[in-house]
Symmetry: C2
Subunit: 297 residues, 2 copies
């Protein structure tokens, strides 16, 4: 199977089209597969998604970092989304033909390279984190750009690479490897938000439910029903079928049924195969058994 | 999505490696994607599987037909599998980015070309059939090579293309478009073949069960259990989950459970998505939502 890594750099510019286009155009020249990019003007932030093999993804990530640091000045930046760097975060996600360990290694190489080239402090996060307190992005990001001149002096927040002072205009950056995140919603045939509350509490990790699952209930005005909105942070350890079946089971306690579920954005084939194999009791189903995989080999 | 057709020519040679290799090597030169080829010496037959876009698949199919007619002489052919031609049958299967109608058109073009080039009588079969009696391959093939000198004189068996007499050494050929066939087995925790008999009777089309499903029960010596062995001839109309759930339901009547199921060979991604979407109640799931599809676009 061919080696595929996904990379989803978040840059702190969501309004200035010229800057965004320049960054995208330079990335395209790196021969990666641009899958998506979307800017949010409220957040003042752009999320770029691209893929390729190790070499190309590495070059692409370094290219985006260089351009972001050159073109974005956080001293003049306002937006609703928390941020600490011009290039705020660079996650690497193993898709196929590559292990998480290799993606961690890749993230370290990219971190080292951009730290040296750009004189930029880097924190390794998620699977690449060097200490527990750096696993979660929000805990690194706390204080944001404005607070980091002080935070970085704290011995607990010595960067993993780069200088121990922030880049004057570009702040600091988090780089790391993580699993693919699946955004998955389930609509219930109830208008009772309290039932939704009980169900989301039963499924989410933070209330003692399933590990790697974030969940919150919400009322959908247009559809007139309650939705359980989930993020599956590790679909290998918390497969989709398990989230679905637990929500279904908990809902049945209140006489509530599932109307339908919805997947937001792209899904790795592995996540589909895993749940499909569960339902029809296949001991295993590999991507090599999928016709299109063989054809694209 | 890129246009992909699968083609699975069956040639009446499964023993002479030189002949088989020459046919395979010439096919490879046609820039198609060779997915598999397997020879059976008892059957004295080789099944070749390749894929590509319309232009390439057409050239590949014509190439195999030409070489088979040139290299295989049915006057000296013995084997357990019924056959009527050196190139016995050429099915075209729509995989992605192409309709069944377009594959029927493709099959007609290939049929016309090889009929004229090789002076070979061609019967259109399956979705390409020009009359009901030519839909099923066994009904065309009846009488085999040896009986066809007579059969072809019958007005009911005037070929769709080519001369009304058999090719002296290569006989006649069936060409047509059909759906992808899924070979799918389910193992039951029983040793009672009579229970298997009742279940296979309830699922298969020929006993009044599910359309497009062939099924037979068999006892697996090595595993010590009964297996329901199925061919799903049209996975779009008879999705995998439906076959699985009916077998499960019928088995439960006898207190029998499913141990596991198994898929033989390659599966189109569409077939997996369809059954996965059923189980987690997704109204729809397209190949465009699969990360790998986007990456390979």
């Amino acid at each position: 199977m061919s080696e595929i890594i996904e990379c989803v750099p978040n840059i702190s510019e969501g309004r200035n089209k010229e800057v965004i286009e320049e960054i995208i155009e330079n990335l395209k020249k790196r021969d990666v597969k641009l899958l998506d990019y979307s800017s949010d003007t409220d957040h003042n932030r752009t999320v770029i998604t691209f893929a390729g093999d190790i070499t190309k993804v590495k070059q692409g990530a370094v290219q985006v970092a260089r351009d972001a640091v050159r073109l974005i000045d956080l001293r003049h930046h306002k937006g609703t989304h928390p941020r600490m760097g011009a290039i705020d975060v660079i996650p690497f996600i193993p898709i196929s033909g590559i292990t998480m360990k290799e993606c961690v290694e890749l993230s370290r190489e990219v971190a080292r390279e951009i730290a040296e080239d750009l004189n930029l402090p880097i924190y390794l996060y998620a699977e690449s984190a060097t200490r527990e307190s750096r696993k979660a992005l929000p805990s690194i990001r706390k204080g944001e750009f404005e607070g980091f001149s002080e935070k970085i002096k704290n011995p607990d927040w010595v960067p993993d690479f780069g200088p121990s002072e922030i880049h004057p205009s570009a702040g600091v950056t988090a780089v790391g490897a993580r699993e693919f995140l699946i955004a998955y919603n389930i609509n219930l045939n109830t208008k009772d938000i309290n039932i939704g509350k009980k169900i989301s509490r039963s499924i989410r990790e933070s209330s003692g439910g399933l590990q790697y699952v974030q969940a919150k209930e919400m009322y959908l005005e247009d559809k007139g029903c309650v939705q359980i909105s989930m993020n599956i942070l590790n679909y290998k350890k918390a497969p989709i079928y398990r989230a679905f079946e637990i929500v279904k089971m908990e809902a049945s306690r209140y006489g509530v049924n599932i109307i339908e579920s919805e997947l937001i954005g792209l899904m790795p084939m592995r996540a589909v195969l895993e749940s499909f194999a569960f339902y029809i009791q296949l001991p295993e189903l590999t991507e090599q058994q999928i016709l299109e995989t063989k054809i694209n080999e």
